[in-house]
Structures are given as structure tokens and as C-alpha cells.
Assembly symmetry: C2
Homo-oligomer: 427 residues x 2
């Protein structure tokens, strides 16, 4: 019998702003960072690793929020915590005092996400499985127990969830084999950062197409003429066989979004992403109606399952972009996958940043095996940097994520990388 | 010419959980707390005081988030900051790295609120005016400049706001005089905490009616039979001339809320407050339709102006309960007052806690003078405790808040109180 003994935390920041990687209309100078957590036990087994992705300033506060949860887990028996991660999630999220700081959104909620993901990493490593295979091995009943249905039942009941999961039971093995053999489609944002000049955009777009990506994404929203020119350059570079999505990163008001997208005059756009405030369900719904048939995508700043529920109820997004560290971890993302399946909406995760690709691929692969049961229209964002800092870096070949095989949730950063990029004092 | 020299912060916690004051269906044991900020300048004038109200755990993280903003103001000229608080608000809220932590919600957003309010406190004190009179002295153009219309213009344009404010220009002086003479209506939650037994409920309800309150509020949502019994007790105690509202503090799912409110079998309820997740616009809209004519109220956990916009667009609340420290301070609450006026919805602020009554009364009094121009159906929540810790404690007589006359935003806590209830090390 082993117990959880400590949280080790690190404020890790990569100076990405110096290269304009990750620059968009709202985030001109991100320093990709991780509020990093390692959950330590008193046995000789593995630790559990998790993190919140941030873009620099405030990463220390995010770390402090993670630390706040240490007292709720230290001293508890590992097996009992890991054996009921549904109950653990509820205890963390519904702490009566901490929930005041959200509730269920922002710094405190993301901190819970790091803890929950670290616990899943620990559980997967103890099981010797990559997270996606561990999740895919759970029964529909076990999966339903992981989800908190509070506030969801007007859209998704436990019975609805069971029905979805049972429907996907046949074929789990076959789809697992397909993923192991063929991987999962990726699209790339590498060419499209706003800070890149036209020549770099053209070169990277052509490279992406040559590498086998079937979709790329461009950042838009700063200047309409620039956007039109850059779209034309990208289209020329990739040819007609590759889709192009655009991402405004919340730059516009509702009316402005509709006007801008129409002014791009490209009905073939794969989607328009984050056209306005990520909290604006009704605004997205109106934009979606008015720019149809271009789909609207959002999710990387979607506070949690209650917002996801509404975006789906209102047909405000046609593409749900879950994020591995925006919400309260694996459990809440399972809820969001179930909601998406219930509404028949495809999930194309947000990734990039640091560690987001490594983490979120497990959720998408689990989704295709055990939830939605399909790859139709689905792909995971990919950006080609900072992977070398992880113990299990993603491998993307021919425009597809190869299925990860190492044990864990993909969230373990290499110790030398932590040491090299840590700011302040480790605890 | 003076400059801002430092943030002084304090983690202040009152052990209210020991008395079950403030207990409700979701918050059984709050310790009313303040993440407290004093903005210091290099002149001999007053400091600016602000805070975020929390209910205990996490108050230290909230303080850390406030501290994060120090660098954006220290060294800046006081007059230029205070002279353009609209621009200051936008700089704080749209910081490209910090906004990742919300955006515009949760710990980081509330931290900005404390800073913005402290700046308003400083400005009001330098002007020798209570905040409500300072705000009421600004022109419609000056007020519009304080508001960030990003994400709002599909519901409220700057021109709409100007029209509202100009319509309220005639009568400003008369309404100011009325407030100074008669005060502003209050309702009280003092009798209705879930932790109080029936005898205490009955006694306090009768006292509230005798003191002149025209409305009381009961916490509900833990047990239907208890709720029905307590409602009957309260009704008997206060008589027919006093309204009774109920507050579920987010306890229910959407369907459950409808069923529970119907099962209370009291169509005279003044409102049902926070029936479900505070993020659930569509859920509230459905509840409101199904429990009509009982109004639905929410706001104390409403993340900000984008959520307020949607709650109003969807007719999801008939009573908007702004909160002095949930959003990014005075400016954002002005935006929410304007939105409410635009949709013809009354504002009845959330208060209680510690310092919330002192702070929010300024916003309501400003609203009646310069925005909505009316007291119709409006009242401010009142709970009778912890006022003695403030430099300008609220005075409620005959069920009405007397208009505050001391300079400032009401947010200054007494130094001995801070010292007595501070946790950790002051900075």
C-alpha cells in the first residue's frame, strides 16, 4: 500500500516570443510555458506528471493554484485515489471554498486539470499503458463513472452516455489496430503564424503539403488585405487538395466576424476558428448561421463542460476543439467528447503550445476507439516545436500522428528541460 | 506630479465558518476573506484600496494574482492613470499573456477587478467624493470612454450607451437629492442561511420585517421538505407585505430546477436565484420560461460582460445581480449596468460577504442617478456582519442603505482589522 507524499512543481517558460512562433492577432508575443506538476508517492514506482499550458506571465500564479490542491491528496492511498478518479474529480472541482474562484473556469479550474491529468499519467504508467489504451480498455460503466453529470443532464444523461459508449463497443479492437497501423490525421498551424512574412508562409505551406498534411491553418484578423493576400499565397502553395482553415483568436465582435469572413470570399475555408469571445455562445451561433456553410470552430478557451454543452445545444460550433489543459483534466474532456458524440459534432483538438500535442492525442485516439467510433472529419492540430522536451514526444509522419506506445499520458517533461527553462525556485 | 510606487497586499480571512453565517446549499462553511490591495503613491495623499472577496481557501492565490499586476502600474504617473481609467482597464484586461489565464474570467479577471477598484478608490478620494457621486458627475461621453465595447456591439454600441446616458441626464440632481434624503432599498439575507434552525429563522425573519425590510431571501436546495417548511415559517413571520426570494446557489440541474421551484408551490416568490450553473445561459433561459412568472436572478458568479450580454439577450435573467468584485471592477460593472438598461432589466446587486455591501452600493446609486434613472424594483442585498471592519461601513436604516458620503469607493478596510485577521506575511 503506497501513499501520495508530495507535489513537486516547476514554473517552466520557453522564450518563444523571440522567434514570433505562436504569434497571432491576440497573442503577439507568447512565451510558451508550463505550470508543471509531478505527483510523488512513497513507493518505487513512477510519478504522475501533469501541467497547465500558459503563454508566460502568470505561470507562477498558475503554479501556486496547483500547489493549493496538494493538501487534498497528500497522505491519501494511491490505489484508492486512482481507483475512483470520478470521485477524486468531484472532490477537487466541488471543494466549497475553492469553487468560489471560478466556479469551474480560469486559473483554479486549470490547476485541477493539471492534478487530474497527473493522476491519470500515474495510473497509466502503473498499468504500463499509454493513456489512450488504458481509457479504451474501460467498460462503458467505468467511463460513465468518471463523468460528473451535474449541469449536463438536460443535454446528456448517464443513460445517454452509456448508450453512446455501448454503441461503440463493437469495433474497439479493430479501430485500435487501425490507429496503431495508420495513426491519426493531423493538420498543421506551423506555416500560418501572423509574425511570419509571406516568403516564410509560402515555403512552410508548400512543405506542409509535401509532408502529407491535408489541412493547414492561417492566423487572421489583424488586417483584411493581409489576410486575403496570405490566403492566396497559401492556396497557391498547397494546391487544391489541401484544406485551409483560418483562426481569428477572438479578435472580432459578432457583426465584424460575419463581415470579415464574408470579405475573405472563400467558401472553401475548412473552418473559421475563435471568431469572437470564447464565452459568447449566442454570438458564435449567429456567426455560424451567417457564414454557413463555412463551419465555426472553438474550444481552446472554452471554460468547461457547461460551456461545451451550450455551444453544442445552440449549434454554435460545428467543430469542437478540446484542449488538454484548459479544463479540469481527462475526466472533463471525456465529458466533452461524450457531449460532442451526442450532438454529432466532430472533435478536432487544439494543440501546439508546449506539450499539448503530446497530451491531447491520447484523448482523440480514445475517442475514435470508444466514444465517437469514427475518424470522419477529425484531425489534431500540430505545430512542430518543443516536442524534444518530452519523454514521449509525438511522432507525426505523412501528416498523421503515430499512435503513442509508451506508458502514461504523454505529459512528462524531461528533467533537463525543466531544469534549463525553470524560472524561480522549484518546490 | 506623483507616481504609483507599490502594491501592498494582504491575505485577510475572517473565521465565519465557525458560526455558519453564510451557509448555503453549495457553500456549507465559508470563511469570508479578502485578497486585499492598497495602491501606494509617492505623494502625501490617500492610497487606493480594493479587494477580491473570496470564501477562504485560495485567497493566497488570489493575492498572488493581484501582485502580478503591480509591474503594469508601478512607476506610472498617478494623474495619467486615473485620468484615463478606460484605457487602463483595457491595458490590464487585454494583456496578451495574462488573458490566457481566463480570458476575462476567474482568478486573473477578479485580480484586475481589485486593481481597477483600488484606482477608482484613489481617484474618488483625491476628488474628495464618494465614488457614486464622482461617477454621477461624469458626462455621458466620459462614461462611455470607460467601457470596453469589444464583444458587446451586437447588443450595445457606444451610441446606444450614449443614448441611455443622455436620456438619464435630466433629473440627475433630483435623483441624487432623493438618494441623499431617502437612501436606496435593501433586502436582507440575514434570516435565511441554511445552517440556521427554524427558531432562529423565524426570529430573524420577524426582526427583518419589523426593521422595515420589504424583502428577505432564503437559501434553498438541500431538501425540498425543509425548503417548504422554512418558506412557510418565514411567510408567517414576515406577513404578506414582505416579499420572499429563494436562492439555490447553483445546486440544481436545469430540469431539477424547474421541478423544484414548481414543487415549492409559491407563485409569489420574489425571484429564484442561481438555480443552476452560473455559466448556463441556455439553461437559465429555459428555467425562466418554465417557472414564469417567478423571475430568475443571477450574477454573483457571472464571469463578466460577455456572459451578462447573453443572459440579457436570451431573457435568461429578469434580475441582474452585479457583484463588486466578481468582474474586472467598476468599469466592467458600468458596462453591465448599461447592458441591463438597454434590455430593461432591473439590477439588484449581490452583496454580503465582507465589504461587498460597502462597495456595491456606489454602483447602484450611480445607476439610479445616471444610467437606469429609476429605483423601480431595485434593491441591494444586505447581510448584517463584518461592516465594522471598514472605514466607511454601510448604514442601513428602515430597510434602506443610506447614501455614503465619505470619499472613496467604500473599499477601505481598517488597518487594525487587516492586522487582526491577516494570514501569512503582508507584502
Amino acid at each position: 500500500m503506497s501513499t501520495i507524499t508530495a507535489f513537486r512543481t516547476h514554473d517552466v517558460r520557453f522564450p518563444t516570443s523571440t522567434l514570433l512562433d505562436g504569434s497571432d492577432a491576440m497573442n503577439p508575443d507568447p512565451d510558451y510555458s508550463a505550470a508543471y506538476l509531478r505527483i510523488v508517492t512513497d513507493d518505487d514506482g513512477p510519478d504522475g506528471h501533469g501541467f497547465v499550458f500558459t503563454i508566460g506571465r502568470g505561470n507562477d500564479v498558475q503554479v501556486a493554484a496547483v500547489r493549493l490542491l496538494e493538501g487534498m491528496l497528500v497522505g491519501r492511498e494511491v490505489e484508492s485515489v486512482l481507483g475512483d478518479l470520478g470521485e477524486t474529480w468531484r472532490r477537487l472541482v466541488h471543494d466549497s471554498q475553492l469553487r468560489w474562484l471560478g466556479p469551474e473556469k480560469g486559473v483554479m479550474h486549470m490547476a485541477i486539470g493539471a492534478v487530474v491529468t497527473a493522476l491519470w499519467d500515474l495510473r497509466a504508467k502503473r498499468a504500463g499503458l499509454p493513456l489512450w489504451l488504458l481509457l479504451s480498455s474501460l467498460s462503458p460503466e467505468e467511463l460513465v463513472d468518471l463523468v460528473d453529470f451535474r449541469y449536463l443532464t438536460d443535454a446528456l444523461t448517464p443513460q445517454d452516455a452509456l448508450d453512446i459508449l455501448r454503441t461503440a463497443l463493437p469495433g474497439r479492437e479493430e479501430r485500435t489496430a487501425t490507429l496503431l497501423r495508420e495513426g491519426y490525421p493531423a493538420y498543421t498551424t506551423t506555416p500560418g503564424w501572423l509574425g511570419y512574412d509571406d516568403a516564410k508562409l509560402e515555403r512552410l505551406a508548400a512543405e506542409a503539403a509535401a509532408e502529407g498534411f491535408r489541412q493547414i491553418k492561417l492566423k487572421v484578423g489583424s488586417d483584411l488585405a493581409d489576410d486575403r493576400r496570405r490566403l492566396a499565397i497559401a492556396r497557391r502553395a498547397v494546391g487544391d487538395g489541401v484544406a485551409i482553415a483560418v483562426d481569428a483568436n477572438q479578435r472580432w465582435g459578432v457583426d465584424e466576424a460575419v463581415e470579415w469572413v464574408r470579405a475573405l470570399e472563400d467558401p472553401t475555408l475548412a473552418w473559421v476558428e475563435e471568431p469572437t469571445s470564447p464565452d459568447d455562445v449566442l454570438g458564435h451561433a449567429r456567426i455560424a448561421r451567417e457564414v454557413a456553410p463555412i463551419p465555426v470552430a472553438s474550444g481552446e478557451h472554452m471554460g468547461g463542460r457547461v460551456m461545451a454543452k451550450q455551444f453544442l445545444q445552440a449549434d454554435a460550433v460545428q467543430v469542437l476543439q478540446i484542449d488538454a489543459t484548459r479544463v479540469a483534466g481527462v475526466n472533463e474532456n471525456i465529458a466533452m467528447l461524450l457531449l460532442a458524440a451526442r450532438f454529432g459534432v466532430r472533435v478536432c483538438p487544439h494543440a501546439g503550445g508546449v506539450g499539448l500535442c503530446e497530451a491531447v492525442q491520447h484523448l482523440s485516439m480514445f475517442d475514435v476507439v470508444a466514444v465517437s467510433g469514427t475518424l470522419e472529419g477529425r484531425m489534431i492540430e500540430y505545430v512542430d516545436h518543443l516536442h524534444e522536451h518530452f519523454a514521449e514526444p509525438v511522432v507525426v509522419r505523412g501528416g498523421r500522428y503515430l499512435a503513442p506506445s509508451g506508458p502514461g499520458a504523454g505529459t512528462e517533461m524531461l528533467a533537463p528541460s525543466i531544469a534549463a527553462y525553470e524560472v524561480g525556485t522549484p518546490r
